[in-house]
Amino acid sequence: MPLVEVDQLSHQYPGKLALANVCFNIERGSFHALLGPNGAGKSTLFALISRLFRVQQGDIRVNGHSLKQAPAALLGEIGMVFQQSTLDMDLSVQQNLDYHACLHGMAGKLRKQRIEAELQRVEMLDARNQKVRALNGGHRRRVEIARALVHQPSLLLLDEATVGLDPQTRASLNQHVRSLCDQQGVTVLWSTHLIEEIQPQDPVTLLHQGQVRANACAAEICRQNAVESLVEAFTLLTSPAQKQAAQPSESGINA
């Protein structure tokens, strides 16, 4: 049974359809990429999963908890790193994590243990008393990842988490999150528009204009579109000719 099931999800802004019948699954322990150009609907999808937006149509289930029927249980299953930093700049690293842990109702002793463990995991334990304002962009992202994992969620969501970082830091962050999947079994949904962040074996959901245009592993998408690289497949699937494309089946693409 997949960890995440996105089922017939649609969302409309005034005058614009942001998501149209989006369906895909995420397997446990996988690094799943949500690929799409700006305006594809990735952030909207994240806002829906995290209950920041109300679901208008369809449903999302994480670890069996439905967003419609058990939203509180679902929120306990997810940790999120937003596109824009949501850390409090005037508070220390530890205080930021402590606030988050409190919001998840974690008791004092457990809170302390979990914060230390997560800061250790992202190699930021020495910086726990530093104010966030004093950290560089890459370290802030690490702190956000640690915060997202403090309450031990089964799914880590990262919404274009590498935006604004230099290439070296971006690669390092990507590598770090992959190690969380490989070594610690964390399931990751990694949203990006940067194709170089995706590896051939990664499961990919390609979103364009609110529709799923491809849903398979990166190498499979290339094979099915008879192209050499994911860049070519991305260009092909997000070209104007694809505008009227219909929703694909779960396993494949509709190029």
Binding site: Y13, K16, A18, R51, P71, A72, M80, L91, C102, L103
Partner: protein
């Protein structure tokens, strides 16, 4: 989640509000300067011009400084509440509100906790003001310092709920300052904070009517009576009713999408 989880979450919100307040020392001083200016300068000027007769809860003639002190306490709460609402609009735009809203606790509880926490943070300001006001011969009975506490909390949370309700309609931070000019000043001036309502009635009947329906008036009177060890049932009922009404309305209309809707079509991901 268990009850202890709710308590932990509230403690976390309160701790964050307190830490933010400590880090913004200028906020404390500006919150003190404003009412003290009114007390030291404005009240001194009006003292001669405006005589106050014996009115409840006072049992003797009082100076103008004594009269406006409860109104200035309410002013501290009003500015604090509006600043808290402003920070909610800011947090919503900047994204840190998302961390609060992603808690598995009910949204109404989170918002109410934030309101209560920001009011609790204002309490030291109120007592610091009362301590300085003592130098201006504002000398309520000693138990009044204790009795005023629940009144301050109740009035503060009510004003916070009104601020939150208003901020729910603000899409962008820039619009908020303008709205505040239409909220803070009319609310303060059209109340019993600066002059008793009977004086207002003498000069303008419709203004008197407006002051009589202003929730801020009842907040001021609740604090005034409590400070002098008296109970004002009408003020308590109105403040409690408004607290409930505006909290329910604020939770109902609160929509985190509001700050995002304007952005999404042009810059979504």
């Amino acid at each position: 989640m268990k009850l202890s989880g709710y308590v932990t979450a509230f403690n976390g919100i309160l701790k964050r509000e307190a830490l933010r307040f400590v880090h913004q020392r200028s906020r404390f001083f500006s919150s003190m300067v404003r009412p003290l200016l009114w007390l030291a300068v404005f009240a001194a000027g009006f003292r001669a011009a405006l005589g106050i007769s014996i009115i409840e809860p006072y049992s003797t003639y009082i100076t103008y400084e004594v009269y406006i002190a409860p109104g200035l306490i309410a002013m501290i709460l009003l500015f604090n509440a509006m600043q808290s609402s402003l920070s909610m609009v800011y947090d919503r735009e900047m994204g840190s509100m998302r961390i609060l809203l992603m808690s598995p606790l009910p949204r109404w509880y989170l918002l109410l906790s934030k309101l209560a926490a920001s009011t609790i943070v204002a309490i030291p300001q109120v007592y610091a003001f009362l301590a300085i006001a003592w130098l201006f011969e504002v000398e309520p009975p000693a138990p009044g310092f204790l009795w005023v506490l629940p009144a301050v909390i109740l009035a503060g949370v009510m004003l916070g709920a009104i601020g939150l309700f208003i901020s729910s309609f603000i899409r962008q931070l820039e619009n908020f300052a303008g709205v505040m000019n239409f909220v803070i000043f009319p609310m303060f001036f059209m109340s019993s904070a600066l002059y008793p309502l009977w004086k207002m009635q003498e000069s303008s009947e419709w203004l008197y009517w407006l002051c009589s329906v202003n929730p801020f008036t009842f907040g001021v009177e609740l604090i005034r009576f409590a400070l002098y060890g008296k109970f004002n049932g009408e003020a308590l009922a109105v403040v409690s009713g408004c607290l409930l009404l505006f909290t329910v309305l604020a939770v109902l209309v609160f929509n985190p999408e509001r700050g995002q809707i304007g952005k999404k079509p042009s810059k979504p991901g």
